[in-house]
Amino acid sequence: MAYTEDDLEKELATKEYKYGFYTDIESETFPVGLNEDIVRAISKKKEEPEWMTEWRIEAFRYWQTLEEPEWANVHYEKPDFQNISYYSAPSKKPKYDSLDEVDPELLDTFKRLGISIDEQKKLAGVAVDVVMDSVSVTTTFKKTLAEKGIIFCSISEAIKEHPELVKKYIGTVVPKKDNFYAALNSAVFSDGSFCYIPKGVRCPMELSTYFRINQAGTGQFERTLVVADEGSYVSYLEGCTAPSRDENQLHAAVVELIALDDAEIKYSTVQNWYPGNDEGKGGVYNFVTKRGLCEKNAKISWTQVETGSAVTWKYPSCVLKGDNSIGEFYSIAVTNNFQQADTGTKMIHLGKNTKSTIISKGISAGQSQNSYRGLVQINSRAENARNFSQCDSLLMGNKCGAHTFPYIEAKNKSAKVEHEATTSKIGEDQIFYCNQRGIDTEKAIALIVNGFSKEVLNKLPMEFAVEAQKLLEISLEGSVG
């Protein structure tokens, strides 16, 4: 039988969340609720120095004065912040020295996630930091990296062992008072990854963090800080999954990237949090603040594949502070059933000759709502700034929606800004054209969808691109090439 667009739609609509298992690992979970004592307790638990505790408390006090923002084009039941546990950690052993010591059950979890640490270690040469229920459980390849002077560890370890670096950079790109969720994260973040690439070093392998929410009733608040010193290069991957649950879980992370002069950071995300069932029940609220700062001649490139979460609300941004710096944003967001995504980017041009590129592809199916929201701001001193934005949306079925909210602000006459957006479905004439050339409908659709998202898929590191394509759950037989 010929594979039609309806079939594809059905396939998209009925795809099940294959990462929805729950691992029964004994873990230590804080009582629900949030107050200063909890914040202090988290800090104490992490054996943090005094300045860090104070930093958290300050963020918490500010957070209390804020109200939850409502401007995004998403509708959801607001999380009850007093009904969440802010700390949950697999408790068998606080820290592992090598993979052999890791709880076999935990290892099994990772195997089922398809990110078998062993496998990746061998095949891809990827150094992985795994964060489960907010706590970093394994970091591989540490020694290899250490030889190059690269620091890649959990952020709590970094706070203890490299306080001068953390103190210097944390909160510089996403200040603790930046927004509601950033403030909350600053107060209660339990772990995350820290990465420092020394001057002139090209990181020999992809660094990767894997996030998983396992415990029920917990929120995940991790914090990632990547610092690329002058002339260095790093490619960083991030993946995430969560068990299927009926209640909504909150994930409010903060990612800060700092690219000093001539440095380059490539940050890729495959976000596959549990999206809720096909009636829209459950799923993760993904409210993330991601921002990068580029100094002179630096480059930051964000690539994201968003397939999960009940509600996604995130805008990986670049502050192009240094002259000649470059910001890039490549995104595919797929929503189906009752998922809602409001995502995009901000490109803030401050320096001269700064360039930014935005490519955003949205695919909506089922009854989902997919929004692109982006800001391109050219400040008055940003001579010869250049931006190109393209936002394309593909709609499957007439119950979903695709929305575009670009904000373009130019204050310099030498700015060149282009923005394009289109919304369409797979055209009958496109399929007809392929049919005419002897390509059957199944392959034609695969070809078109692949072509639609290719610009972004191409930007992903190889091993992630494979996973991303799998995630898109779109039959691309014979057309991947």
Partner: protein, 437 residues
């Protein structure tokens, strides 16, 4: 006392001095309540993010003026389109000026809203159309509450108005600060056709704040062309709220030429209530000094097989600021929609700025919606090419700007108006091109 308080407290007096029947008074009572709760929009409103009304609402405005009979036609002739025969509806300080106007009741009604609202013979039309298209948001509601005068144009089935209609609002500056709230109602029934040119002009440099509302109804197969010329003095602010209801196979085009004024805000809302509708929104903005022009458009596609075309060009010099906030909404049942939105801008000075926000909200899958937005400069190579051919730098720049704006000018259907606007642009750019485009 803030302007809002002043307006609220003067509402009762205003109401007592009018002779509207109860149905109209009910509408007004409801409207003032809406304004009372909503007040003037602030920058916190997403739709007003880039436009602040603070400086506009600050002066102590007179809310009514007596009009001025001393103005002679020759004094204001330059503000009219004279080379063709037109109907004219002229208001001086918001008061109808019969000797400057030329109205008709012959087949079509081109007259005053005040008489339409009070005379029984118009009641049928007023009941069906007045305040039915306009959405009750704060500024429109404010206008609804206070509106008593404006243009009333009614074109019955299969009639075409044989000459364009000019609506001209003059303000004399007899009052130090004057607030005007004109209200226009334009109804084109099935197969009807009408062309309207609207202009606001102040004759002195005293502050004028105009909060205008226009409702346009286009019946089946009706055609309405509306041209707005906004070339006012540096102390004149204008908020133009237009609400357009289109029925099957109708075509409504609105061209907005914004060349002056302190603050100009155009809220242009199209509602497509039938199939095979075409909506055209075009605008050219050329401003300098500290002027501010904000185009806020909405095209709501509610039925299938329709089109909309938006094309806004802007050239910004000195410290001027431009805003474009366009929104296209496509409902789930509105399949086979072709919506196009384009916004191109040139910044001439380092102090000028532009904020653009072209939005799409789409709920139907079988649509073709696209938007494009650019900010750029004049092509140096093209300028150099012209200079090698002996065209001066200034003229070369002007030529390029003409070419830039020409897309919009092209679709102006009244040749004399097109010539007039071309002249205005030439004047604006300070050059004499020497030929018509």
């Amino acid at each position: 006392m803030s302007l809002k308080d002043k307006l609220l407290s003067s509402y009762l007096t205003f109401q007592e001095n009018t002779s509207f029947d109860n149905s109209i008074l009910d509408i007004k009572d409801q409207a003032i309540k809406v304004f009372e709760t909503e007040g003037f929009p602030s920058k916190k409103d997403e739709n007003w993010k880039y436009t602040s009304l603070n400086s506009v609402t600050k002066p102590d405005y007179s809310l009514a003026a007596t009009g001025d009979d001393a103005i002679e036609f020759k004094d204001v002739k330059q503000y009219f389109l004279n080379d063709i025969d037109t109907f004219k509806i002229v208001f001086i300080d918001g008061v109808y000026s019969s000797y400057l106007s030329e109205t008709t009741h012959d087949g079509v009604d081109v007259c005053l809203l005040s008489s339409a609202l009070t005379k029984p013979k118009f009641k049928q039309v007023i009941d069906v159309y007045f305040n039915k298209i306009a959405k009750n948001e704060s500024l429109t509601a404010l206008n609804t509450a206070f509106a008593k005068e404006g243009a009333y144009i009614y074109v019955p089935k299969s009639m075409a108005v044989n000459k364009p209609i000019q609506i001209v609002h003059l303000s004399t500056g007899n009052e130090a600060n004057l607030m005007l709230q004109p209200r226009n109602l334009i109804v084109a029934e099935e197969n009807a056709e009408v062309q309207v040119i609207e202009r606001h002009q102040s004759l002195s440099s005293n502050a004028v704040f105009t909060n205008s509302v226009t409702e346009i109804y286009a019946g089946k197969h009706a055609r309405v062309d509306y041209y707005k010329i906004q070339n006012d003095k540096e102390n004149a602010s204008l908020i133009d709220n237009s609400h357009i209801d289109q029925q099957e196979s109708s075509e409504v085009s609105v061209h907005t030429f914004s060349f002056g004024g302190k603050l100009t805000r155009n809220n242009l809302n199209y509602y497509q209530n039938g199939e095979h509708i075409n909506s055209i929104l075009k605008g050219v903005t050329i401003i300098e000094d500290k002027q501010h022009v904000d185009h806020n458009t909405l095209v709501h596609h509610k039925q299938p097989n329709c089109e909309s075309h938006q094309d806004y060009k802007g050239i910004f010099d000195d410290k001027s600021t431009g805003v474009f906030n366009g929104k296209v909404v496509v409902d789930a049942i509105a399949q086979k929609i072709n919506a196009y939105q384009s916004n191109n801008n040139i910044l001439v000075s380092d102090k000028a700025s532009i904020n653009s926000k072209p939005q799409l909200e789409i709920f139907a899958d079988d649509v073709r919606c696209s938007h494009g937005c650019t900010i750029g400069q004049l092509d140096e190579d093209a300028l150099f090419y012209m200079r090698t051919r002996g065209i001066g730098k200034k003229e070369g720049r002007a030529l390029l700007m003409y070419a830039f704006a020409n897309n919009v000018l092209e679709s102006v259907k009244i040749p004399q108006l097109k010539a007039r606007i071309t002249n205005l642009i030439a004047e604006k750019l300070g050059v004499n091109i020497g030929f018509d485009l």
